[in-house]
Amino acid sequence: MHMIVVGISHKTAPVEIREKLAVPESRLGEALSRLCAYPGVKEGLLLSTCNRVEVYAIVEDIEPGYGRVQEFLADTHLSLSSEQLTPHLYWHAGDRAIAHLFRVAASLDSMIVGESQILGQLKDAFEVALCHKTSGLLLNKIVKKAISVAKRVRTETKIAETAVSVSYAAVELAKKIFSNLKDQTVLLVGAGEMAKLAARHLISNGVRQVRITTRNAHHAIELAQRFNGTPIPFDDYRTELASADIVLVSTGAAHYLVSAEDVHRAVKQRMNRPMFLIDISVPRNIEPAVRDIDNAFLFDIDDLQLRVEQNREERLHEAEKAEQLVVDEVGVLRQWLKSLEVTPTIVALRNRTEDIKRSELDKAFARLNHLSNDDRQAVESMASAMINKIVHGTMVTLKAEASGSEGVGFVEAARRFFSLDEGSSGNERTEDRRSSAGNDLSSSESNSEETPRRREPRVRTGATGRIGDRGDDPLSGEDL
């Protein structure tokens, strides 16, 4: 069993291709059923947003799996041929596929790094896959892990802390002037889109008092209803300045609506309580000389833009920390996936029973020291025979079911019945392999950051079930 991902994103494909490939929500279920109908595709999840279309699948073999998924993608849109599509596709398998999903979920692969929408979209896609039963034991675990990784990234790094939109930058600045937005009053002059958005952000951050004025009185009343605020006649906005802590101006006027003198008077009336003025209009509506007035803080669109740029850089800085976190989490998941392989499970089972036999024999022999050597051997072989007979059925079943669709479930059951995850010998082995493969992953990830990866000619020789040909394959990190 292997996890693979095949897809296109804003990094590899222009919007003309992406929009053709995108699957509308109403048709997601049907598409998933079609995907899982391909032979060798065990589980599937389809993530379709405006910036990416990706298929995550659990397949029996990687190469044929890539082929099937590509076929599936080319079939989603009739006017799109496989040749047109191929140059834009990327393929990942095993750890790289898992790491890719983690990065996507944590918004490290997004156009605006750190935006939160993608996580919701992934949850929705997962929900659809669950509904149509195309997500099974493996994808369930991997996607749930991806969601928790995304949450960890959000809480442990500052990737999503800073504002990356002009309207939100206004809120961030307001919080540096007023510690509690709840007690502040906002005056909205004019109804430019960005100002409305900023007002909405301010309200969702606690502002309760909103006053609105526009040249068109009806418009102001309508807006006031929407924001649960108070409409004010346009002629009065100058006198209302003093009662506003935050003033948002965005009109189409070609001259200054708010002069330095107006603000000076307002600050005086406010007994020097600070005022925050945001001018999101071009041409500007607040006289720039307001900057020089004490306790009045004026920001125009360029200032907000500057803040946004800085924050973007900061997010990229934080993203580096998040990348490390993703690498660590892939390692954790790999360990779990490893435990679901048949060979190590059988080895662990053998070791475990051998350990039990050894310790019980030692205890018995300590008491029965009158036994002759022949007697001891007889007792020992009896113990071995008993142990072998007890586990024989389990081993045979595991080997037989390994390549079947339920194989993973059998392995997990066996591990639980025999408490294999508490033993020491088996775990040490996986630990070793984990760390070596982990290095492999991190180095290859950094190389494949921007460019779409060429399809790798790594043809796996055997499915998980084949015992004995795996050994300490350095590429084993690619398998499930």
């Binding site: 600045l173 919080k175 540096k176 002037i177 007023f178 510690s179 509690n180 406010r270 007994m271 020097n272 309580r273 600070p274 900057r291 004490d294 306790n295 803080f297 920001f299 200032d303 500057l306 803040r307 800085q310």
Partner: protein
Amino acid sequence: MSALLFMVTMGLYFVGTIGFLAYLVRRSEWLSKISLGVTSLGFVTHTVALVMRMVGIERSVVPTFHEALSFFSWMLILVFLAVEFRRQIHVFGSFIVPLALVSLVSAAALPVENVSTFQPVFKTLWVHVTLSMLGTVGFAVAFVAGLMYLIQDGLLKSKRFNVLYTKLPALDYLDHLNQQAMILGFPLLTLGIITGAFSAEIVRGSYVSWNPEQTWALVTWVFYFVVLMGRLTVGWRAKRAAYLTIIGFAGVILTLIGVVLKGHGVDS
């Protein structure tokens, strides 16, 4: 033993200061956590040192400047820890802890010897010194809040959104802190001055002798009175209050230096 603990405290505050100053320009959050830990440890040793000194002292001893400054430093850290505990404004430590360190180092530079007196003046003197120092702590906090206010105000005005900008709290909180510190500090200083005058009366038979330090102290008091009244009535808040409290604190420091140089803690 108390002298040893005193030195240990000074070392810990020194490390805390370095850490908190580095925190001003570095992004890492663990820097503030380590500095906070070291400073808290310093506070514990400081508390023990102070208690031991108080217990060890003879009954009729005049408070020295060493003790007054050490107590001042201890109170500053106490206020810092309280603010830190309630609001988690780590950057406050970058301003308060260095101030506490400077005060402690000044204390170390002053003699520790006990000056005994047979007059009943020592009791009122202890009250006088304690109250004056508590008042000074209030002004020190107002000073730090004012300083932080001016920095944040400057950064906002010049649109320099640097590391310090992200760490400093909102302007209105700093202004509020400034006001609260003044409101608490002023009555304490007033009481300190009154008890000082009583002590002077007992020692010298007159309440006020109009020597330079006393004059300075009164000037400072009047200054703070005007600032506080201006704030509460005609809106001397925000930037103006920040400037005025910084000037006022400079006055307090000058008074203290004057008294120390004169070498007698009897006057106020």
